[in-house]
């Protein structure tokens, strides 16, 4: 039982990071019907920018830990959002009217470009975050849970909730949902679709960048290729939950993390990915549009 609970917390921590990244995939898909393969690399940019800002400004020493990290997170999210907007302008907007395949190829190219740019700037070595977060653990019965892990889950849940409320309750959110249902009709209703797409490319990358910063702070080790593994998993999570659906991405991410952890615990560690993908296949057979995806429902 103890092992089960501990594995559950392991899974929730990884899963909440998957979920944060999955949101970027799902939002872009919802509005553009495009799988943004460069999204994993935007996540990596978040991790690297976070490292640079962390070590050059030492905000955590000047402003105190909590405020310092908060300002750092805001800076990272802002900068990655800028990269996201530039990416959309340069790689996707010129192909808006082209066949969908062209945009996907462009996304793959952008991914390679972003990844190698990072390597040329920072070098190929693994980069390491300084230890700034407290290394304490909470003891609950026989369970030892690192405090940072609780923080990771809490931060992700807060960000996802804010995003959900933003999309459901605000005017811009309504515009995003409208553009996701029917771009043409949205345009006729006076919605500036290009602006909506730009907003999506601000929010998605900002969340991805935040996830990158979280990974850097939590695990400490980052590499320029890490976006691939995480991107792959997050993309899976987005499909699992129903791509285009925001709560779906959250559920999919957490579920994938937990399945992996429990698979490692009760099957074989080597087989945990196979198990996770087997679950994905079964879910897609039973529900082709994912757990929360509905065929005609509004996406985003």
């Amino acid at each position: 039982m103890e092992q089960f609970l501990e594995q559950l917390t392991n899974g929730l921590a990884v899963g909440s990071i998957y979920a944060l990244i999955a949101l970027g995939y799902t939002m872009v898909y919802g509005v553009l019907k495009l799988i943004n393969f460069a999204h994993g690399d935007l996540f990596t940019y978040g991790a690297y920018l976070g490292l640079t800002l962390l070590t050059s400004f030492m905000l955590q020493d000047r402003l105190g830990l909590a405020l310092g990290i908060l300002v750092l997170a805001a800076m990272v999210m802002g900068l990655v959002a800028v990269v996201g907007v530039v990416l959309e302008r340069a790689a996707y907007r010129p192909l808006r009217e082209s066949p969908r395949l062209s945009a996907v190829v462009s996304a793959l190219g952008a991914s390679i470009f972003l990844q190698n740019t990072l390597m040329l700037i920072y070098g190929a070595r693994y980069q390491v975050y300084p230890d700034v977060l407290p290394q304490d653990a909470v003891h609950l019965g026989g369970l030892t849970i690192p405090l940072v892990r609780v923080g990771v889950v809490a931060v992700s849940v807060v960000m996802m909730t804010v995003l959900y409320l933003f999309v459901q309750k605000t005017k811009i959110g309504t515009a995003i949902r409208a553009a996701a249902i029917d771009q043409g009709a949205a345009r006729l209703m006076g919605i500036d679709v290009n602006r909506v797409i730009m907003i999506v490319f601000v929010i998605g990358p900002a969340l991805g960048g935040a996830a990158g910063l979280l990974v850097g702070l939590y695990y400490g080790q980052i590499s320029f290729t890490m976006g691939w593994t995480y991107g792959m998993k997050a993309f899976t999570a987005a499909i699992l939950g129903g791509i285009g659906n925001i709560p779906g991405a959250m559920v999919g991410g957490l579920l994938l993390g937990v399945i992996e952890a429990l698979g490692a615990a009760y099957l074989s560690v080597a087989w945990k990915d196979a198990l996770a993908f087997a679950v994905l296949i079964v879910i897609l057979i039973v529900r082709p549009s994912g757990l929360l995806g509905e065929r005609v429902a509004e996406k985003v």
Partner: protein, 370 residues
């Protein structure tokens, strides 16, 4: 039209002769991808040595030209890179690092009659295929397995856990150790694999912990080893970890943090700073002068040694490649390599014992265990 073709052919001929006063040696290395730091160091070593050779008048009267191809640390990229090298007139190739990557290129070079000297690929089967043109400057995993099992025995561990990462090298080494331990009736309580490049290994560590081993032998690479050590400490679990030679990289301590890395032991050929011959020490100094830092990875130096034996053998074969070169390599005895004396057996394996045991001290230094 015919005249034009003739002129073109003549032109190509003269071009060919114009280039004949250089001898080309290929370097196949992971310049990009997740082992890029190893690959870039391989390149630095080989290019420095080539410059030294050329400054002394080259080999057999010709200047050496190094042709670098990137294998990306990936078997598919590597086979394409190997094919490109075969079309560029290289007589021999140094590299590459990962066993699975090297395996994808072996037959390509062998069929083209090009000598290949791998520097980091320790998987046993690479030299068991009867390929005439394949050699390596690094030792083999069965040797490493033997030393590994010996260390475990010395620790008097009652319950042993083995963890690998499913790569050709890592699984091979884990199997090797497992077989030796089984033969000695040691109690292996855990044998499983992690997925490299993930960053969260808490699920695996939780499972390992439940198996209650006295010692864990991880046969993978340093990025994962660093994270395992770090997360093990976060969990508050104090079991000792041992690793194989792919963990020999100073970045291990950076990733794990000094506290978490302290006490970790690994098997490895000597690290660059423990190379003890005067030539090796002089080499480390000249490397430092050129690049501003000492060589970090032994595999870069092993690539350098691979390059040096090729140059020495080319001297003996008077610049000829193919069979004369292979014969000259086979005839090398006690060649003074930077990583120790080098000679090859009939299979192309390096002769002699290379493995040492290292322990990480509290300042994160790698200390040779006598």
């Amino acid at each position: 039209m015919k005249k034009a073709i003739l002129a073109l052919a003549l032109g190509l001929c003269t071009l060919g002769t114009a280039r004949a006063d250089t001898v080309k040696i290929g370097l196949l290395a992971p310049i990009t991808g997740s082992w890029a730091s190893e690959g870039q160091e391989m390149k630095k070593n080989v290019e420095l040595l080539a410059a030294e050779v050329n400054a002394k008048g080259g080999v057999a009267g010709k200047q050496v030209e190094v042709v670098v191809e990137d294998d990306g640390g990936d078997p598919r990229t590597a086979s394409l890179a190997a094919q490109r090298l075969t079309t560029q007139g290289v007589v021999a190739v140094v590299g590459t690092y990962g066993s699975a990557v090297t395996e994808a290129t072996q037959n390509i070079f062998d069929e083209a009659g090009i000598i290949q000297i791998a520097n980091g690929s320790t998987a046993v089967r690479l030299t068991e295929k009867g390929l005439k043109n394949f050699l390596r400057t690094c030792p083999r995993d069965d040797e490493q397995g033997r030393v590994g099992a010996m260390v475990l025995e010395k620790m008097k561990a009652k319950k042993i856990a083995l963890l690998h990462d499913s790569s050709a090298y890592s699984k091979g080494l884990a199997d090797e150790i497992n077989a030796l331990l089984k033969a000695k009736k040691a109690n292996v309580v855990f044998f499983d694999a992690l997925t490299p490049k993930e960053q969260d290994y808490s699920a695996i560590l939780t499972k390992l912990k439940a198996a209650g081993p006295d010692v864990v032998f991880f046969t993978g690479y340093y990025p994962e080893a660093g994270l395992l050590l770090k997360q093990k400490k976060q969990m508050g679990w104090k079991v000792p970890f041992i690793g194989g030679d792919a963990i020999n990289n100073p970045d291990l301590v950076k990733i794990a943090g000094k506290e978490a890395a302290e006490g970790f032991q690994f098997l490895s050929p000597p690290v660059p700073k423990d190379l003890d011959t005067p030539e090796a020490k002089a080499y480390v100094v000249s490397y430092q002068k050129k690049y501003g830092e000492a060589p970090q990875s032994i595999y870069g130096v092993l690539a350098g040694d691979g390059f040096r034996v090729i140059v020495a053998a080319l001297q003996a074969s008077k610049g000829a490649g193919g069979e004369p070169l292979r014969a000259a390599l086979g005839a090398l005895k006690d060649f003074p390599g930077y990583t120790g004396k080098i000679a090859f057996n009939a299979k192309g394996d390096r002769v002699g014992e290379l493995y040492r045991v290292y322990k990480v001290d509290k300042d994160g230094g790698f200390v040779l265990q006598k």
